[in-house]
């Protein structure tokens, strides 16, 4: 039999967007240490349902660290303190028997709470919609190999494109800034020759949408980078700053 843990959970409960939330305490007993953090919540929820209580609502889907759905702040850190993982990839063997674990939603004004630990991250979609794409009509593309791209550029683009849009950057930021998310997209497309025609238009539109959504500003603490499950670098933020400065000047002066 594998090792089992007994834990105390302090969980944020909130019935709906409008209602007030509160922290509630639940025991989590006999948790196998091989279980993932979300599986631990599954076990707790099974118990709650059988007792006739409301289960803890949380967002999750792929449970392999790629969809970006899971969004828990564990002991004050989005996705928990283990680096480079999402909550679903965090395993209970990282905890010790008797631990008290605080579980809260990703907190930001721009991410209103839907229920308990589920937040509305549609602001991210609106930012992408404002310009986070290359406008190419289906069927109009030239042969894929007609435009060689230096491997280093393709790799840098990929590093930025690895973003899963989970929002941990916002949740970890003392200012709830979305700069890492936005810059990852600006940098992904900006590294590629295909992304050049819309490069300036893109950065202006995305930054303006980001501001309009009510995210805070970057104070260069790089908490985002540390919390990012895909370890996306804050260097992309510098790149976006530069792109924005150039584009804004050009927009006004040229």
């Amino acid at each position: 039999m594998s090792k089992q843990l007994n834990l105390t959970l302090k969980v944020w409960r909130q019935d709906s967007k409008e209602s007030a939330g509160r922290i509630e305490t639940y025991p989590a007993n006999n948790i196998p240490e091989e279980a993932s953090f979300l599986e631990m919540l599954d076990i707790v929820n099974e118990g709650l349902i059988v007792q006739g209580k409301e289960p803890i609502h949380f967002d999750h889907d792929c449970r392999e660290g790629i969809c970006g759905s899971c969004s828990l702040t564990i002991n004050g850190i989005p996705h928990g303190k283990d680096r480079g993982v999402t909550t679903c990839q965090l395993h209970m063997r990282k905890f010790t028997n008797g631990d008290t674990i605080w579980i809260e939603p990703f907190r930001a004004k721009a991410f209103p709470i839907v229920r308990d630990l589920i937040v509305d991250r549609s602001a991210f979609d609106r930012i992408i919609a404002s310009g986070g794409y290359i406008d190419v009509r289906t069927g109009s593309a030239v042969d894929a190999n007609s435009l060689p791209i230096p491997k280093a550029d393709a790799d840098s683009a990929f590093d930025a494109a690895a973003c899963i849009g989970c929002g941990a950057c916002v949740a970890s930021c003392k200012n709830a800034s979305a700069m890492l998310f936005v810059s990852a997209k600006v940098s992904h497309l900006g590294h590629l020759p295909q992304g050049q025609p819309e490069r300036e238009k893109r950065v202006l539109a995305m930054v303006r949408q980001m501001d309009a959504e009510g995210f805070g500003n970057c104070t260069n603490q790089y908490e985002c980078e540390a919390a990012c499950p895909k370890e996306i670098s804050a260097d992309h933020i510098a790149r976006m700053n530069r792109d924005f400065a150039k584009a804004a000047a050009k927009e006004a002066l040229v």
Binding site: K10, W12, I23, T73, N75, G76, I77, K81, W102, E104, R107, A108, K109, A110, S172, C173, K174, N175, A176, S177, V207, R208, M210, D211, G214, F215, G216, N217, C218, T219, N220, Q221, Y222, E223, A226, A227, S233, A234, D235, I237, A238, R239, M240, N241, R242, D243, F244, A245, A248, A249, E251, A252, L253
Partner: protein
Amino acid sequence: MNALSRCLCSYWSSSIGKKLVVALTGLALVLFLAGHLTGNLLVFVGQKAFNDYAELLHHALHGAGVWIARIGLLSCVTLHIVATIQLTRENKAARTPYAFDATIQAPKSSRIMIWSGLTILAFVIYHLLHFTVRAGNTYDTYVDAAHLANTGLTRHDAWKMVIDGFSVWYVVAFYVIAMTLLCSHLSHGVASMFQTLGLRSKKSRPMIAAISKGYALLIWLGFISIPLAILVFGFGK
């Protein structure tokens, strides 16, 4: 002018643009600090060198130089402060607090920028009243005796003012505290400047961190060396 004002407006109205203003004004202030420190260190060269320097500052461009510098610095400080206060308010509004708050890696210096900045502002006001306006003291009456003897011309004895000013322990204490906060402010601020101006990259990352820390340390050591030398080691007495 229309295009330029449009450009400035578009910077000021966006988060990144406002941060650019903070970075550029910060850069000007950082450079000013280096100049200010270099001048101050002339204290150690001697009374004549220091008072020559003070006279030069006041007479550059027929006396206009100091005013241009003052106006320039004042606008930088004002823009720096107004922008950061606005940004800080936006930041506070964007965040909802955690019941369990934690920090992964952000150094303390980066988290107290607004407080270190406001303390420095308070210090700057005091510092100006102390040495520039010379309110509540008699430093205005100090005359460079050696200069008078040599040239027959009267000029202010800035050197003696510094020695006397830093002979009071609580003045030195406040000064050292303020310089320590300035050091903290710079250690985060200088590196941030590179980031905001988009000059930071994977490869330059460690270098920028080192420059930022090194510069902050240099400024701190440089500025506190004068009052400490005077108060503790009795320099100039």
